[in-house]
Amino acid sequence: MRFRLPSSTAALVVLTVLTVAAAACHKNKPPVVRPAPPPPSSGAAGERPPAPPEPVPEPAVVPPEPVKEDAIASASLDDLNRNSPLQPLFFEYDSSEVSAAGQATLNADAALLKKYPTWTVTIEGHCDERGTAEYNLALGERRAVAARTYLVSLGISADRLRTVSYGKEFPFDPGHDESAYAKNRRAHFVITSK
């Protein structure tokens, strides 16, 4: 089964990747033992060795990305979850197996969770409408657990990952066709604290 991500989602994936890449260049943690903390990397001018003969044009340092990164760091939970940087994991019909594409999604989600180590997340399991409401409670839970298990295997602490199953109670797409069903079979991430 193929599903199409909305273009805004695709853009967000790209953006997330850029953000993660940018994060790798930046400091991860403030050094605690060094007596003099290094200056913030963005205000680098003062620390540069004096007068290189030819001022190499600074590689036009990424103005948008740090802004975006700040946006994630400073956004309210509501705003974060409205366009969650954590991508949902999609499933085949009546399955809780994590596909290769799903693993890639979770790898990116895990990178974000490592970047923001204070985040705690609820993983919601969702199902399409074809199964029964009762059985789907258990199926949704199995999907949420599949996502959690994979993230834990990537080193994310299980304490940060709660699961809840909503069965088919909260479809993301109210349609009654395969494209809607595909969107509704998911493990969905909600950041509950940061």
Binding site: G131, E134, Y135, L137
Partner: protein, 448 residues
Amino acid sequence: MALALVSLTAGSQTPAQQTPATPPPQQPSEVNVPIISGEPGAPPRFAVPDFLALSPDTETAAIAKTIGQVLWDDLNFEREFAMIPRDTYATIPVAASINDVPFDRWRELNADAVLIGTVQKIGNRVHVEARLFNLKTRQSVFGKGYDGSAATPRVFAHTIADEVFQQQRALHGVALTKLTFDSDRDGERMTGTVEKRNVKEIYISDYDGENQRRVTTGRSLNITPRWSPDGRAIAYTSYRHGPGNIFISNIYQGTLEELTKGSSESWLPAWSPDGTRVAFSSPRDGNAEIYVVNRDGSNLRRITNNPAIDTTPTWSPSGTQIAFVSDRSGTPQIYIVGADGLGLQKVTSEAYADRPTWSPAPYNEIAFTARTGPGNDIKVKDLASGQVRQLTFGEGTNESPAFAPNGRHIAFMSTRSGKSQIFIMARDGKNVKQVTKSGNNYQPDWSK
């Protein structure tokens, strides 16, 4: 702990909770024999005119009319009597008193029996008399008086109907029983970090769909309601604290109990027939299994132990077995296991089966949701013969069956009229009646 608000009026509780006074039969000539039809094998033909208003006010007249109409509907429901349409006897004059019945006029209708009654207003209460006459013998075969609130005329009719069924047919009528279901009709949205999520609340109604009332105000997802055997509490799955957990709402006290707590979810409660235990499904030990816990939350024990999904439990009428759903064979199917966890049997071999409901005696059947196409239908398996019969046939999807306490009817959810609505039907699939119309309504259960 938040309280579940119950919007029941005091007036509606009283008669439902205490059986109206039943003085002894008033005529020594009464003979308790079933009325039979003149035609062998045919059901007796019954007429139920408006009751006679003995007080001159319009309220009493309205009560008298309501009782007659509701009583006709109640008596029609079990298909034990051939009910003569009420408009065919509008011309028969109302008797001047209960002792002045125009027998000849009723015989002209070819009626075998007529049920007449009177209503007298006393303060804000009413006194109701009911009398069932055998028109061949002109004898009263049933006569009782009832006192109750003027606010609930339907309760008088339901009470009389059930007593007539008991006396004439030794049948446990369901006119006083209630349904519960969950509904999104209020159009409320959940607050929190996620938008566009409809609240579902638990509702109750009379068996005929009247008096629909909300019993939860959780403003969250409240689903899978189940009546306690005494009809005074509803257990359900609520997400009000985040994960799904089992709550018990004592609907007449307006109090709420949390039967399960914590971040491990619990869903789909099912009361044992004696009301002392609740079975449910929970993934607390790694994957969904069936558990049983005492009503006070003590003595939690695990019934199933399998890496597959085990969910949607229901009890046998004797309380010795639990039917549930498992995908251990690859697809969801119904299984039965002893309440001690022993003696597993597979019950269904469907494409997909869920939501078993076990009929009370004398039937020994399990009704369930079965996939029959793109949608589902209601099927019933007779446990003695192994025969499976199908009750609905692809009109929309049909799910979540629940037996009436006499085993003669099934409530279920269907999309046949558009949205998801609650319907009831006879156990043979006939006499389908829609009982909800507002919003979407799901997962009915029928009180004992």
